[in-house]
Amino acid sequence: MPTLYSLWIVGRNGGLLYSRDFVQLPPIEFNDKLRLASSWFGMCGISAQLSPVPDSSGIQLMQADTFDLHSFHTLTGTTFMLLTEPHTPDAAELLRTTVYELYCDYVLKNPFHEMDQVIKSELFDQNLVERCQAINRRWGVGA
């Protein structure tokens, strides 16, 4: 069943700025999350350098047996990671449009947010969870 699992946002220097689960998931220690996020950030950087072709964007999608990891790098260096059930349709699109739009609206336009600081915007949280859970519900997944 297609499902959106969780969203992570990694800042320009590899720090985890935000993470949110959309369904019940086994918890990960906060420190582990920080480590995983910065490792992924590093791997994306390495993958871009490994590319035999110039101007590679790095890893965009990692597919495993049990999940897909969609990764989206903005021009300004923020990395969005969306974990989904394998072969969840339109996840890359969702990341590039809906999630990025919400980030621009409720995080960047919020005067109390500082770049590369942890995201505390209530409105971002509310709207993101609402939208993603609505998508999950459409696929028949409860919260």
Binding site: C104, D105, Y106, L108, K109, N110, P111, F112, K120, F124
Partner: protein
């Protein structure tokens, strides 16, 4: 005689009519920067509120003038209720493209009026951190209202508040106006008041 032929002087041109709309995003970014600018120059929340109010005050004074010329045929309201309607409809429509949702008199005090609205462009994208408590970025709008009222001869204390609405996820913004005693006395002396 100082005028070159073919081009009219600035006072001969009709006052520019019509509305000019700007992108909500660019306004939101500009407003966000303005709040950050103010924030870097104050040490506490009430000072920040006052600073936003001061910025709005200048806007309000000028808006009163331009709207009286442009939309009111060079007439300015002299009665309290008419002035409040002017703020509620004409000023609001100019600023936000629609009327404010409600205009009402306070139950507790004769000299207090409230304009309430939801989803103002100044609050739409802003999440006020918990440690900032009661701050409402619409203090800027409160400043605009105070400027317009003051310019028209209705000095008042104007403040902006968040008020939760039952059944709604987002609170509404209430602009509370408390008029000076002199305004209320004058209003009572006027015919029909």
């Amino acid at each position: 005689m100082f005028q070159s032929r073919g081009s009219a002087g600035i006072v001969d041109k009709p006052f520019r009519q019509g509305r000019q709309e700007i992108s909500l995003s660019s306004f939101a970014y500009l407003f966000s920067e303005m709040v950050q600018y103010c924030q870097s120059r104050v040490s506490n929340i009430s000072e920040l509120e006052r600073k936003l109010d001061e910025v709005g005050y200048g806007v309000g004074l000028r808006l009163l003038e331009v709207l009286c010329y442009r939309e009111r045929g060079q007439r300015r309201e002299t009665r309290l209720l008419d002035m409040l309607k002017f703020i509620h409809s004409t000023l609001w429509r100019y600023l936000f493209g629609r009327q404010a949702r409600d205009l009402e008199q306070s139950n507790s005090a004769e000299d207090e009026y409230m304009i309430s609205d939801t989803d103002l462009p100044v609050t739409k994208f802003v999440s006020v951190p918990r440690e900032m408590g009661h701050l409402n970025p619409a203090a800027f709008v409160a400043g605009i209202v105070r400027g317009a009222l003051d310019g028209a001869g209705f000095p008042a204390r104007v403040t902006a508040h968040y008020v939760p609405v039952a059944g709604q996820p987002r609170p509404k913004t209430v602009i509370l106006m408390k008029f000076n005693a002199a305004v209320m006395q004058r209003e009572q002396r006027m015919p029909g008041g």
